[in-house]
């Protein structure tokens, strides 16, 4: 019984330490954002790594998601009404409000998030993070802020591209598979979609960017235990980021809906 309580206590202490460390990292990031010169060169490098390098896989993922959405919507609609109705509306709403932000965040977390955790983890175990401290700069300032800013700038932009790519994928199936005229498809989108629907997905992608950047940076910077530790941190960063995206998706959607941004 005592052993069980000790294990539970140790686990709770560990969770508290992780949560505390995570919050301190966020606090330290905002402290340095307002206290120091921003590392724009590093930020641009990270934007290229996170954005440009993730672009092909993001576009391809959303294009095929748009295609499959159009296919399923068209077939269901045909069964119910004998013709494919509102394919563009369903595809665009699903992409803009839900699938683009979530899928883009998951893809970027798996690709760029893992790279960040592995890079920072390796720097931690080889004492390069300590070296930064002894050379007059703070790792948060030099390593975390550029990655955080890059995520915040790039992920919403990738999400917008994903919105467009998914809609084009849907258009491709709507025209080729169901013979829907392309102007009908676009009208199905324009007639029903408002700016606030677009904001819904855009704001969620910013929330995901915040979470992924800090989770991956925290996992990387708290790495210990050599190469094995780096592997553990990288896996942990990707899994935690993906779970956080899916959990935050519901809560962010609820808050946005309550605020009248459906």
């Amino acid at each position: 019984m005592t052993g069980l309580l000790e294990r539970i206590g140790a686990k709770l202490l560990h969770i508290s330490a992780v949560m505390g460390g995570f919050v301190l990292l966020i606090r330290s990031t905002f402290f340095w954002i307002f206290r120091s010169r921003l590392e724009w060169r590093q930020t641009l490098i990270q934007m290229a790594k996170i954005g440009a390098d993730s672009l092909p896989v993001t576009v391809m993922t959303s294009f095929f998601t748009g295609m499959v959405l159009a296919l399923q919507t068209g077939i269901s609609s045909q069964r119910l009404f004998n013709e494919p109705l509102f394919v563009g509306t369903v595809v665009s709403f699903a992409m803009v409000m839900e699938l683009s932000p979530v899928l883009t965040a998951l893809v970027v977390a798996g690709r760029a998030g893992a790279a960040i955790a592995a890079e920072l983890g390796t720097m931690r175990v080889t004492e390069q993070v300590d070296a930064l401290l002894t050379l007059g700069t703070d790792p948060v300032r030099y390593l975390v802020i550029p990655r955080f800013l890059a995520f915040m700038l790039v992920l919403p932009l990738l999400t917008v591209l994903s919105d467009f790519s998914g809609s084009v994928g849907g258009l491709f199936v709507a025209v080729m598979r169901f013979g829907i005229p392309d102007n009908t498809y676009w009208h199905d989108i324009i007639d029903f979609m408002e700016t606030k629907h677009f904001y819904h997905g855009f704001i969620k992608s910013a929330v995901f960017a915040f979470a992924i950047s800090f989770i991956c940076a925290y996992k990387g910077l708290s790495t210990s235990g050599g190469a094995e530790g780096v592997g553990r941190s990288t896996t942990g960063a990707v899994v935690s980021s993906m779970v956080a995206v899916l959990l935050l998706d519901y809560f962010a959607s609820s808050v946005l809906v309550a605020m009248g941004i459906p």
Binding site: S28, F31, W32, R35, T122, T126, E127, Q128, D130, A131, L133, T134, L135, G136, T137, D138
Partner: protein
């Protein structure tokens, strides 16, 4: 001047430093010796501010570490030191000259146009030429250590901390590093602490030697005094015997 009093540090249940007292006078090089895991590197990391101590005080040039208010103050404190890491800790993604001059941007007002020339000067000081554009992965172990030393002195710090400066090097390269440490002390007049378990290195570079044992300074004196010490633990360590008061191995 570095003054350490009653320094305490524990990692979980393991008490590593149990009240270390150590004075390092201006221009002095103190070698801290002791067995593996006795807390030598922890002591150095506490001094530079990489690890916060649990108790005691560290005063450098009349400023106490405990009086630092925020992260910006601690960053300024760390900027007082040059630090040579055991494995060099060079930044993989940067060239040698970028590594050497990295700290200049944050610790000095040196114009960036002078960085390259300063890097060449510092590299020449540690006996390296023509390596400016190489990446750390293209260097040998001894060269990495020398580049790391050039980086540690690039911003002309008043204090240099060496963590195992000769570990992993062959005897000839170890002697080269020892000579460099001596040269730097003479040319730059810096105050230094060198953590090592290499007795040849300690006797060569130190003006004073302090032996750390069971989390405290067991003995302290000039190299000659330590060489002639009758303390059984000191004798066991400098003679490299496996049995004695430090513990049978």
């Amino acid at each position: 001047m570095i003054r350490i009093r009653g320094l305490l540090k524990s990692f979980g249940p393991r008490r590593v430093l149990r009240g270390v007292d150590l004075d390092v006078g201006a221009g002095e090089t103190v070698a801290v010796i002791g067995g593996s895991g006795c807390g030598k590197s922890t002591l150095l990391k506490c001094v530079v501010g990489l690890i916060p101590p649990d108790g005691g005080s560290i005063v450098v040039d009349d400023v106490a570490f405990g009086s630092l208010r925020d992260e910006a103050d601690r960053s300024e404190w760390r900027g007082k030191f040059g630090y040579l890491f055991q494995e060099g800790a060079l930044f993989d993604s940067m060239s040698v000259w970028e590594n050497v001059t990295f700290g200049l941007k944050y610790m000095t007002n040196t114009p960036p146009s002078r960085y390259r020339r300063i890097a060449s000067e510092k590299l020449a000081l540690v006996g390296l030429k023509g390596v400016e554009d190489l990446k750390p992965a293209q260097l040998s172990g001894g060269m990495k250590k020398r580049v790391a030393l050039a980086r540690a002195i690039a911003a002309s710090p008043r204090h240099i901390l060496y963590d195992e400066p000769t570990t992993g090097l062959d005897p000839i390269m170890s002697d080269v590093i020892n000579s460099l440490v001596l040269d730097l002390q003479k040319k730059l007049g810096v105050t230094s602490i060198a953590v090592t378990h290499d007795m040849n290195s300690a006797f060569k570079i130190a003006t004073r030697i302090a032996m750390l044992h069971e989390g405290r300074v067991l003995a302290s004196g000039t190299p000659d005094e330590i060489r002639k010490s009758s303390d059984p633990a000191v004798r066991q360590f400098i003679e490299g015997r496996s049995s004695g008061p430090i513990g049978d191995v």
